[in-house]
Each structure stands twice: as structure tokens, then as C-alpha cells.
């Protein structure tokens, strides 16, 4: 289900959501100039119109928004932030805004400081009353599928929606926006710069074999995978790897369930397991599967156990994930 949501997000909601979020931010800050600047940077004009239907909560409900805006004006930066997304929680801490968080969602388990905050809230089926109980200045949403933003606006609570990123650039954009929203512009810029540097350094230092290495990214033991159009798939593409899930293009969406015969016959050079935490898959369990013993990745010890959490989020730790991929590629290519 989560994958479906991410797919929907990618195709239709990313820019719309970001823009809708921005207009909320703009309303909260009462600063039209900054909002126009940000919108102007990376959004084509055509999407601005489509953002409108998502934004009425912020702009059309006069009483509500004015109140929220006045309050935000007085406070300047939000002091009480609720995060409903583990990714946004990670970003908040990474840009030094962690102490503005008053509550996080149930899956926010990183960094360890996040676990010390109240973490009973659900990001999938948010309970508006429970959120309101924390008296937040702003609520961070990781993809608003059920109209949470509107419901919050109705009770004078501002929100910001940063749906699942489709590319690393989307992540940079969300980090920048959260920096502006929380008053940590410099730290956010520094984080983006260091992530860009680290990724470039990793790519530069990783060998690219003459024939591209093929990879299989496993989301769960029923062989759901992610193709190169996904956020995590982009990381593999950055290293010039050939993703076997791309061959299912047009048949299974961006997260196809692959056929076992296909995986074995495609004979991937590397297998990345993003189902170690959820489902307990390991090098041992994969090697023991019927008929999998002859796969090059299994033969060469190129089955790599990854961290599911990082693989399913789009936060700053994507650099750690890329480093693990780079190390594995270096081994496999050498």
C-alpha cells in the first residue's frame, strides 16, 4: 500500500503538494515575497494552477488563516512542530531544528533523540484531535492523502506537506523549505551542499565497469521491487547500475512484483535487500531459496543487507545508503 501511495505521489502530487505546502507556509509567515521566490525557482508555471485546488484551506477560509497567520507573525518561527513523517523528523534534526519538535509519528525512530519525544501519532491515519492536543504551530505531513491539511486549517493549525520525493533534488527542495519554515535556512543550505558534495565524491570514487552491473532491489520476500524512476532506484542509476526491475516497465508501475523465474534467469550481479528489518531476510535466507543458488550475486557474495528504513525514506541518510551501494559496487567490480 505504501508503495502505491508513493507512486501516486510521484506522478501527480509532488509539485502540487509542495506548492500547496508553500502557500500554507506563506500564509503562516505573511511574507508573500519569499513564497514567490521559492515557487519561481523550480516549478513550471503550469503547475501553479493545479496547486490552487489544494490550497483553499490556507487561502479561502478567512477566519482560520488570518488567525494562524497572526499567531505565526508574532512567533516569527514555529516553536511547536509536530512531524507525521519519519523523513521530516530526520530532516528536522539534521538541520538543527530538532528541539522545535514536540511530537513525532509512530515510525520516527531516527535519530535516537526522536524516540524521546511523544511518538504515538499515526502519519497514515492521522488523528486530528491527538495532533491538536500538542498545540502545534505547524504540522509536517509526509504526503497528505486524506485532507489532513484542510482539517488542521479548520482548527487554525498550519501545516506543511512534503510528499515522498521522486528524486534526490526533491529531497534537497524539501530540506530547503523546512529550513525556511523553521528558521534554519543556513543549516539547511549547508546540509544540502554537504549531501551534494558527498554524493558527487562517492560517484567519482566508484568504478564503473565496462559492462554495467545489474542489480535487484528487493522490497519484500514476495519479490516486490523498485525501478529506476523511484527515489531509491535513482541512487542505483547514479552509479551506472542496471536495474532489472526496469524490464517490467509499463506492467507493474514503479514498484512491480517480479517473477522469481525472471529474477533467476536475469542473473543479477548484485542483490540489495531492503527487507531485512520488516521481514528478516538475510544473505542466508536468500541463498537458501529454491533455485537461487546459481545467481551470480549469491555465488559472489554480492547479496547486500540494507537498512529498510533508509531505503523507504527520502531524508539526509540517503547519503549513507549511497555509500553502502558504492562500497558494494567497488567490491563487485574489483
Amino acid at each position: 500500500m505504501r508503495s502505491t501511495e508513493r507512486r501516486t505521489t510521484r506522478t501527480t502530487r509532488t509539485l502540487v503538494g509542495v506548492l500547496a505546502g508553500l502557500s500554507l507556509v506563506a500564509a503562516a509567515c505573511g511574507n508573500d515575497d519569499s513564497s514567490e521566490d521559492t515557487v519561481g525557482t523550480d516549478a513550471p508555471a503550469s503547475t501553479e494552477a493545479s496547486a490552487a485546488p489544494n490550497a483553499p484551506a490556507a487561502t479561502d477560509a478567512p477566519g482560520a488563516t488570518d488567525a494562524a497567520a497572526d499567531e505565526a507573525d508574532m512567533a516569527d518561527v514555529p516553536e511547536r512542530v509536530v512531524s507525521l513523517s519519519p523523513t521530516h523528523t530526520e530532516i528536522m534534526f539534521a538541520i538543527g531544528a530538532g528541539d522545535q519538535l514536540v511530537a513525532v509519528d509512530e515510525f520516527s525512530n531516527y535519530p535516537p533523540e526522536a524516540l524521546e519525544l511523544p511518538n504515538d501519532l499515526s502519519g497514515f491515519e492521522p488523528n486530528i484531535e491527538a495532533i491538536a492536543g500538542f498545540e502545534p504551530d505547524v504540522v509536517l505531513i509526509g504526503g497528505d492523502f486524506s485532507g489532513v491539511g484542510e482539517q488542521l486549517a479548520a482548527i487554525d493549525i498550519a501545516s506543511w506537506d512534503g510528499p515522498a520525493a521522486a528524486t534526490v533534488d526533491d529531497t534537497y527542495a524539501q530540506i530547503t523549505q523546512l529550513g525556511e519554515l523553521t528558521g534554519h535556512v543556513d543549516e539547511a543550505d549547508a546540509l544540502v551542499a554537504s549531501m551534494q558534495e558527498d554524493l558527487e565524491a562517492l560517484i567519482a570514487s566508484t568504478p564503473v565497469p565496462a559492462e554495467a552491473l545489474s542489480i535487484y532491489h528487493e522490497l519484500d520476500p514476495t519479490y516486490f521491487s523498485a525501478d529506476s524512476t523511484t527515489f531509491i532506484g535513482e541512487i542505483y542509476a547514479l552509479f551506472g547500475l542496471r536495474n532489472i526491475a526496469d524490464e517490467a516497465e509499463g506492467s507493474g508501475g514503479a514498484f512491480p512484483q517480479l517473477n522469481a523465474e525472471f529474477i533467476v534467469s536475469t542473473n543479477p550481479d548484485m542483490i540489495f535487500l531492503a527487507d531485512t528489518k520488516c521481514c528478516g531476510e538475510t544473505v542466508v535466507t536468500v541463498s537458501a531459496r529454491d533455485g537461487w543458488g546459481d545467481i551470480t550475486a549469491v555465488q559472489n557474495g554480492a547479496v547486500i543487507e540494507m537498512d529498510d528504513d533508509i531505503a523507504s525514506r527520502w531524508g539526509p541518510r540517503v547519503v549513507d545508503y549511497a555509500a553502502a551501494v558504492a562500497a558494494a559496487v567497488t567490491t563487485a567490480a574489483g
Partner: protein, 355 residues
């Protein structure tokens, strides 16, 4: 009717039966061969039957099938085909038996809660039970699903017995409705509390043969065998049930006891296949009706034909399951319902099927 007439009609009937069984057996064999030959990877389809012959003792044919290709056919595709056969055959014979025992054409093997119980058990294993079962030697999901499935049907039976004093078909069906709703409500609640596993549970509910292994086949086969043998031994009783409970009793059938034996046997097999392959819809409902239309509604013949026909049906339905969106999978439950639902509507519109 003279003895000679009786003899003639007997021999005619026996011959027809043999022909029916031979036809169904051929259908099943063809289905297995087609299922084993067609897949997204592996050798050309026509090489597979040759290679099967080649693998027989004392036979040697140069089929051009490499070890890697044979590995794909034998280790990955074959368990899937056989599991499909076991699941399809079991659901069909269980469906036919349930329809007979409750004298209701709309009944499927999930009626008394076998599927809802298994779904609840699987959800439990994937959510709150996950840490507790992490160290189990056996895979906890099918194990807990199997136990929960049997428990749920048992509860239905007990509840059905306390309503109105007797376990008539109707009170059992109504008890089933209540227990299924209750189990589904619990499952929804558990799922809602653990939305991170919603895709896994959803996958499970849709039903699948895609991850089939030889272990799955070995796990399910004994239950299916026991269940089918018991049902086959009682198929003549099902014909007696057709006339009604009271009439069956006057004909010397212990109605309550026979119904219990048939329900227990059908449930045991259903619970086993559901716990491994999830909820595959329409096979248990539609296949017995197809057989009735083709070969008549006598249970003596219906049960073995449903077993073979259902096995062949699901094996064949799984071929589009793996080929339609190749190399991605289409859930088997989608394929069976896609074929089954329109056919069922057609049946309802055009025929009055006697059960």
C-alpha cells in the same frame, strides 16, 4: 425394472463414469504440462515436455535444455504448478462438499470462517505476534493462519449449535456470517493499528502462488490428501442430503454426524491451502458449478471431477497470472475472479442449477 435392465443401466453408468474421469484426468495432465512449459524465463515451451521425458530413467533425448534452465523449471515453476493444483483441487472439492451439505449453491469453502480466520491469524502473525514468533522453527504466518482458521470454524460450529437448539444448515450459515464479520472486524482493527504491514497483509489476502516452494507443496499435500479421501468416502451421503435433512434421516443417514465429518474434512484441507496461498476467490464457488453444467449434479461424480477440474483450472489461471504483465506478477486472485465473476453472472442469468 428387471435384473437384466438394471445390469445394463449399471454398466452404462460405469462406462460413462470412466469416460468422465479419463477426460478430467487428461484435462489435468494437459494443464500441468502447459503450466510447467510456459513461464517468463527458462527454456522454449516445447522443450519442457521433452526434457521431462529425458529425465525419465533409461531415456536420453538431447533437448538442448541447460542446467540453469532446468533449474528454473524444476525449482521455481514446478512447485508453483503443483501448489496451484493442490489449492485449486482442494478449494473445488471443498466448495462442492459445502454446497451439498448446506444445500445452497452460493456457498464456498470460506463460508464458515476458514478464510476469515486464516486472514485474522496471518494478520496477527504479521503484526502483534511478529516479535513473539521471530524465533519459531516453523514459518509463523501459515502456522498461525492454519490454527486460527480451524478455531474460527470450530467457533462457528459451536455458536451454530447453541442457536435454536440444533445445527441445521441455516443456523450454521448464519453463525458463519456473524463469526466472519467478527473476525474481519478484529483483523481490520489490528491492521489499522499496524499500517506499516498493510501491503504484506493485502498481498496475503489477495492470494498468491508466486512464492511457491517445494516446502509449501510438502506442507500442504498431506492435509489435502486426508481431506480429499474423507470427502470422497462421503460423497454418496451428499446425494442423500439433497432430499433434505429429515428425509436423509429417514433413509438412515445420521445427519448431524455426517455433516460434521464433511465440514471438518473440507475445513482441514481448506485451512491448509489458505494458510499457504492466501484467499483465492471463486475457484471453490464456480468450479463445482461448471462441473454440474457439464457432467450433471450427482455428488458421486461431482466430487472427483471437481477435484481434477479445480486443480487444472487454477494451474491454467496461473499462466496469465505470471505472463500477463511479465516479468511482473498479476495476483492469482485477480485472475480467478476476473474469469469467475462474469461466468458466475452468466450462470445466474441463464441456468437454474440444481445443487
Amino acid at each position: 425394472m428387471t435384473t437384466a435392465d438394471q445390469f445394463v443401466s449399471e454398466t452404462r453408468r460405469v462406462r460413462t463414469d470412466a469416460q468422465w474421469y479419463a477426460s478430467a484426468g487428461t484435462f489435468l495432465l494437459v494443464a500441468v504440462l502447459v503450466g510447467a512449459s510456459i513461464g517468463p524465463a527458462g527454456p522454449d515451451w516445447w522443450r519442457v515436455p521433452l526434457e521431462f521425458v529425458n529425465r525419465l530413467p533409461l531415456v536420453s533425448i538431447d533437448t538442448g535444455v541447460s542446467d540453469v534452465e532446468w533449474n528454473i523449471v524444476w525449482q521455481i515453476r514446478m512447485p508453483r504448478v503443483l501448489l496451484g493444483g493442490l489449492v485449486g483441487g482442494m478449494l473445488s472439492i471443498a466448495g462442492a462438499s459445502y454446497q451439498g451439505v448446506f444445500r445452497n449453491p452460493l456457498v464456498d469453502p470460506y463460508l464458515l470462517g476458514a478464510a476469515a480466520g486464516a486472514g485474522l491469524g496471518a494478520t496477527f502473525a504479521l503484526t502483534v505476534g511478529r516479535s513473539a514468533t521471530a524465533t519459531w522453527a516453523v514459518d509463523p504466518v501459515p502456522t498461525i493462519a492454519f490454527i486460527a482458521s480451524l478455531l474460527t470454524v470450530m467457533i462457528t460450529y459451536l455458536v451454530g449449535g447453541t442457536v435454536g437448539g440444533s445445527r441445521s444448515g441455516v443456523t450454521l450459515v448464519l453463525a458463519g456470517v456473524a463469526v466472519v464479520s467478527f473476525a474481519t472486524a478484529l483483523q481490520t482493527f489490528l491492521l489499522q493499528r499496524n499500517l506499516d504491514v498493510v501491503r504484506e497483509v493485502f498481498q496475503w489476502i489477495l492470494g498468491r502462488l508466486s512464492g511457491a516452494t517445494w516446502d509449501d507443496v510438502r506442507l500442504v499435500a498431506p492435509y489435502v490428501a486426508v481431506s480429499c479421501v474423507v470427502l470422497m468416502l462421503h460423497r454418496r451421503h451428499l446425494d442423500v442430503f439433497r432430499v433434505g435433512d429429515d428425509e436423509a434421516a429417514t433413509l438412515g443417514v445420521s445427519v448431524a454426524r455426517t455433516r460434521l465429518v464433511i465440514v471438518v474434512a473440507a475445513t482441514l484441507g481448506t485451512a491448509a491451502v489458505v494458510s499457504v496461498s492466501g484467499l483465492i476467490g471463486f475457484v471453490g464457488l464456480v468450479v463445482p458449478h461448471i462441473i454440474r453444467l457439464i457432467a450433471g449434479s450427482g455428488y458421486r461424480r461431482l466430487l472427483p471431477l471437481s477435484l481434477m477440474g479445480g486443480a487444472g483450472f487454477l494451474i491454467l489461471a496461473d499462466v496469465p497470472g505470471r505472463m500477463l504483465t511479465n516479468p511482473a506478477e498479476t495476483p492469482i486472485g485477480v485472475v480467478t475472479a476476473f474469469i469467475g465473476a462474469p461466468f458466475f453472472i452468466y450462470l445466474l442469468r441463464t441456468r437454474r442449477v440444481s445443487v
